[in-house]
Homo-oligomer: 220 residues x 2
């Protein structure tokens, strides 16, 4: 069988998300480059894979999927190993619900706080070259992020990872934007939250994570 | 066993989301009012249920959950019936992945397009009384929503519902914001997308949906 195909550039946060899970399960895959600066993701060939013209596109045999979180869950369900069990599919409904809770927290609370800092400090000025840093947006987002990190600190006083004492889908979803945040001038914010900092260092020490992050540039 | 408890006001979109699924599965539950205009959701009693101070809070026996999408999945997994199977947990990985894809599309593409219109036209001016309608935001969001609805129209030409020929978790997640959108001056936008309009009418005809929507006021 031909390997799974991921269409997109590995520096993009949503592409990186899918790659983390492919590397975690150790599946064979092919990364097919899409030149987003040339607008390739808006052309008919890519729109067949993702009608919204976003990246990544994804193909496994005849199956076409889009939306990085959905693709990632598919990879874990189809190719995941029992001893990894990042979705807790092998556990109780209560255990998998805790993964769902903290996966939603990432999407609904953490991402809206951290992403604007990354967009303003890295993505817009250096990658897209669309706009200089808007300091008001950065400052408001940092304030919001402090609130979120305070709640994470309390949570991580109770368990090593967000959904319990082993790593889950929820934790790994935090990596793409946090990785780029750590390349902004505000990385030291995490020093104020020692449990969060230690959690972050545990995630970054994972071999699968290291393999993906080496293709995510932070100097421009 | 005491019934599940949902803490929050049924007019709020994230509370309504949970109520749709409780009504769909026919589970017993108690709705515990939280006076959000008086800031009750920011007080210690509510923060024990949801550390982010958001609604709804949720309790089932000793289990406390937050984030409405996570609560909803818990309800379906714990109390769902095989003949409803809104998550396609009884089907193949490919089938449940299509539910994941369109659930993420709702969160990542549809919501960011439709929500600003609802916030600007209904929630901010009439419920929160914080600001008048910002017409620029409304116009930009309507433009974005047209793009999204065009893709939905193409999808719904292939199947009656987003993830196939029967209703799923993905479809029902669209209801709260679409319901309020239909009370804005822009409801007729949906008339331009006949498959989407018919899909919406099928969702609104569901008895469980009707029971929840009668507690979602659209006149102020």
């Amino acid at each position: 069988m031909s390997p799974m195909k991921v269409f997109g550039h590995p520096m993009l946060t949503n592409v990186a998300r899918v790659l983390f899970f492919l590397e975690e399960v150790g599946a064979e895959y092919e990364l097919v480059p899409v030149d987003f600066l040339a607008g390739e993701h808006k052309r008919p060939q890519h729109l067949k894979l993702n009608p919204f013209g976003k990246m990544p596109g994804f193909q496994d045999g005849d199956l076409v999927l889009f939306e990085s979180r959905a693709i990632s869950k598919y990879i874990l369900r189809k190719y995941g190993k029992a001893d990894l069990d990042l979705l807790r599919d092998n556990g109780s409904i209560e255990e998998s619900s805790m993964v769902d809770v903290w996966t939603e927290v990432e999407a609904q609370q953490y991402y809206p706080a951290i992403a604007p800092v990354v967009f303003e400090c890295i993505i817009n000025p250096f990658i897209m070259r669309t706009a200089p840093t808007n300091q008001t947006v950065v400052d408001e987002s940092l304030e919001r992020l402090r609130g979120v990190l305070g709640i994470y600190e309390a949570r991580l006083e109770k368990s090593s990872y967000l959904a319990g004492d082993s790593v889950s889908f929820a934790d790994l979803n935090h990596i793409p934007f946090t990785f780029y945040f750590m390349a902004t001038p505000y990385a030291s914010l995490f020093d104020e939250y020692p449990k969060v900092k230690a959690w972050w260092e545990r995630l970054m020490a994972r071999p699968a994570v290291k393999r993906v992050c080496k293709n995510m540039p932070t100097k421009f």
